[in-house]
């Protein structure tokens, strides 16, 4: 059952990821990205991270992606024109990606034994209580700093997106 769920949602994630990358129109990419995030939320649940799964849906799939869609529509961004100007990408892009993927997979295979498996329900430390407990004790200072960061980001966004800068 675990394997089944993992394979289904992994396939959805990879498929939607491929669509994100391959589509020329940003709207299609954005919709597919929501699919990736949703399936990732399921995978988080499988890993026992309930709170994170919920946040993933709320913050990412909800807030962030809605922001993206708004901007896409605001700018009325269309299909990108064919042709690019970057020769390094054309020359090195695919080989580098293949090498990266190969090396990383090789390293993962080397470091994590295959018999180490994930079983649904065996890790229960990912509920809101647990996460909140860690967040407000051990990670209190980063948490507060992040709140400042968000404040700064809001101000920045307002300044940048607000009045025309001459």
């Amino acid at each position: 059952m675990d394997t089944f769920l993992f394979l289904i949602f992994a396939a959805i994630a990879v498929g939607c990821g491929v669509i994100v990358v391959s589509q020329r129109h940003p709207i299609h990419s954005a919709i597919s990205l929501i699919g990736v995030m949703g399936s990732l939320a399921v995978l988080y649940l499988l890993l026992g991270a309930e709170f994170i799964a919920a946040t993933q849906v709320l913050v990412y799939a909800g807030a962030v992606m809605v922001l993206f869609l708004f901007v896409i529509m605001l700018l009325n961004a269309g299909v990108e024109p064919p042709g690019g100007k970057s020769w390094p990408v054309r020359l090195l892009g695919i080989p580098l990606l293949v090498v990266l993927l190969g090396v990383v997979s090789f390293l993962i295979r080397g470091w994590i034994p295959v018999k180490e498996t994930v079983v649904f329900g065996s890790f229960t430390g990912g509920g809101p209580r647990d996460v909140g407990g860690a967040l407000f004790t051990e990670y209190l200072l980063p948490f507060e700093i992040v709140s400042v960061l968000i404040l700064v980001a809001i101000l920045g966004a307002v300044v940048l997106g607000g009045k025309e800068i001459d």
């Binding site: 890993l47 605001l74 100007k85 966004a157």
Partner: protein, 102 residues
Amino acid sequence: MAGVPLAWYLILSAILFALGIAGFLFRRNLITMFMSIELMLNAVNLSFVAFSYKFGRVDGQIFTFFVMVVAAAEAAVGLAIILAVFRTRKTLAVDEIDSLKY
């Protein structure tokens, strides 16, 4: 006890990350590139959560939480920048935005 090998999660994470890179490299639209960055962040989040499971600790999830928050802030600022760029340049094609070399 049948389960999914942890390595699969990590390899899925690597695949998604590589897809993000591919999107960043091969898409020429600013917004799509930005979404590719989000994709990469999500791929990293997946490996954080996977390691959180592996070590049986909640810290990995806390990191994921922070990444999400930062990603949200980044999305807000980044999209504002894209708006500003579009207003001055009237284009979203990154290959046209190359004044950095001067």
